[in-house]
């Protein structure tokens, strides 16, 4: 059966069609074809959120998964993110959770938080 998708690789948002032989059409660039196949076989997403931070210039620090995680794991990843408590200072790139849920993906800080006493 044919499947219709909208590509999320870039703001262009191509309308993709994948037929029963997994052949992709409607894509402007090769990334679209890869996205379509991945999306139908094992969809993944980058997750961005915040973690609690103590003694910092802000009470939360933004974080992201260093690479995409399986879509169905998003809420489990969020649960892990919600358990974390950091202590300021925090720097961009600091590993917040190593190998989250054994997905071979780290959660890393995406902002600098200064220490405030």
């Amino acid at each position: 059966m044919e499947k219709n998708l909208i590509c999320i690789c870039c703001p262009r948002g191509c309308h993709l069609t994948v037929d029963e032989n997994m052949s992709v059409s409607g894509n402007f660039c090769p990334r679209g074809a890869k996205y379509a196949i991945d999306e139908l076989t094992h969809p993944t997403r980058i997750v961005t959120s915040t973690v609690k931070v103590n003694d910092g210039s802000y009470s939360v620090c933004s974080v992201k998964t260093a690479s995409p995680v399986p879509k169905e794991k998003i809420f489990e990843v969020m649960e892990e993110i919600n358990k974390v408590e950091l202590k300021a200072p925090v720097s961009i790139g600091d590993i917040v959770i190593k190998n989250v849920l054994n997905l071979s993906v780290d959660i890393i800080a995406t902002e600098n938080i200064e220490l405030v006493k």
Partner: protein
């Protein structure tokens, strides 16, 4: 009175990129006035990814993108005043700013770059019908509260407007444990990028109600219910199409407006975008005052802001160095059929070989040419299979196309004939 070469109003992506560009072209006396506690502007609260594909060839989050530019500014030792607000600009380019340490300070600048960004259209501006209780926030307010302070504005949230910030926030609320009941969009199409519809709404089964608007907010102390209705072709709610949602917050993502009052107050010409009118140097109607970024017109991508800001930075540097020539050309540019606006509004000189035209269409359109008609003659046609208002088109044309150097340019959409 202190004198500087270049004063930049705003230390967000536009102001920072403009400052770096001007510095690298030899300007050393630069000050940036930023109202926030850190450089980077609104990027600091946009913790989602998707920034910088063009600029850095990788997908960064807002704070990461902001940090890279802030670092470029700091590496050049460009003077920045944080938590500082510009209170006035005079036609003589005397800028007054105020902060805690220095008080109210007047600075005379040879050139000014306006890079103050935009603000969100709000419930008051569109007169959202019904009660006005707690729990009606703009998407930006809700974003700041959750991403920087750690507070949610509701547990059951309805969103009006399908602008990108609204879509991003729909996902963000969901990840933080709130239930997003739906997004209503008054237009028959979404105002956000397709990718955001997919990864922010569809991924989480959040319904999008096109051609719908909020017809009533209900709640005495706090939002209790939001009623939406389908709208007719004049955007009026159609009786009998009401849907009521039990919710505790209404979040608005209904558009952004250039924050250009400092310039419009001193009579600098304003365009249909509500930003200043500019020529291809991004110079306003007051020589030596330049404008770029969301205060000029609202951009879809920060990469486009940065590119535009670099032009403003270069032009300001040339102006200060006495090397900006505006005499040779005198062409007016106007948006016609199907085109919402076109930038620049004016072509004035020949220092740059190319003109970056930026435009947005009025509504989603298929199979059209963007047609540039100069003094009655088509000088360029660009075919578009699909073109939508939420995406800004950038089309670069060589100045050599404008042979007569005077006259008028019109930009319009022309349907592609089937038999062509």
């Amino acid at each position: 009175m202190r004198k500087v070469d270049l004063l930049i109003i705003g230390g967000g992506s536009a102001g920072l990129a403009a400052a770096v560009e001007a510095y690298d072209r030899g300007i050393r006396s630069i000050i940036i006035i930023e109202r926030g506690a850190e450089l980077g502007g609104i990027l600091n609260q946009c913790i989602h990814n998707g920034f910088g594909l063009g600029e850095f060839k990788e997908e960064l989050t807002g704070p990461e993108f902001a940090y890279r530019f802030a670092k470029q500014v700091q590496d050049r030792n460009i003077e920045c005043h944080l938590l500082s607000t510009v209170t006035s600009v005079t036609p003589n380019k005397v800028v007054t700013y105020v902060n805690e340490e220095e008080g109210s300070v007047e600075v005379e600048a040879k050139a000014i770059i306006m890079a103050a960004g935009c603000y969100e259209r709000n419930a008051g501006a569109i007169g959202v019908p019904g009660d006005r209780p707690a729990g009606v926030l703009t998407a930006g307010q809700a974003q700041l509260m959750i991403n920087k302070f750690g507070y949610l504005c509701g547990k059951r949230i309805f969103i009006l407007g399908s602008g990108d910030i609204g879509l991003i926030m729909a996902r963000r609320f969901t990840l933080e444990g709130a239930k997003v009941l739906g997004v209503a969009e008054i237009m028959p199409y979404s105002n956000g990028l397709n990718r955001n519809i997919v990864q922010c709404l569809n991924d989480y089964d959040i319904p999008l109600y096109l051609s719908h608007t909020v017809s009533q907010v209900i709640g005495k102390k706090h939002v209790e219910k939001v009623e939406i209705s389908q709208v007719d072709e004049k955007f009026r709610p159609i009786p009998g199409t009401e849907k009521v949602f039990d919710c505790d917050a209404l979040v608005l993502s209904i558009g952004l407006i250039p924050n250009n009052t400092l310039l419009s107050d001193i009579g600098i010409k304003v365009s249909g975008t509500k930003g200043a009118e500019v020529d291809q140097y991004l110079q306003t109607s007051l020589p030596g005052v330049f404008s770029c970024g969301n205060v000029l017109h609202v951009h879809d991508l920060v990469d486009n802001v940065v590119k535009e800001a670099r032009i403003a930075g270069e032009s300001a540097a040339r102006y200060i160095q006495g090397d900006l020539h505006v005499e040779e050309y005198d062409i007016s540019c106007a948006a016609k059929d199907g085109v919402g606006y076109i930038l620049p509004q004016h072509i004035s000189g020949s220092d740059y070989e190319k003109v970056d035209f930026k435009l947005r269409v009025r509504k989603p359109t298929q199979n059209v040419y963007i047609e540039f008609i100069y003094n009655g003659e088509t000088i360029k046609r660009v075919f578009k299979g699909v073109i939508i208002p939420s995406e800004m088109e950038v089309i670069s044309l060589p100045l050599s196309l404008f042979k007569e150097k005077k006259g008028a340019l019109e930009v319009k959409l022309t349907p592609k004939e089937v038999n062509q």
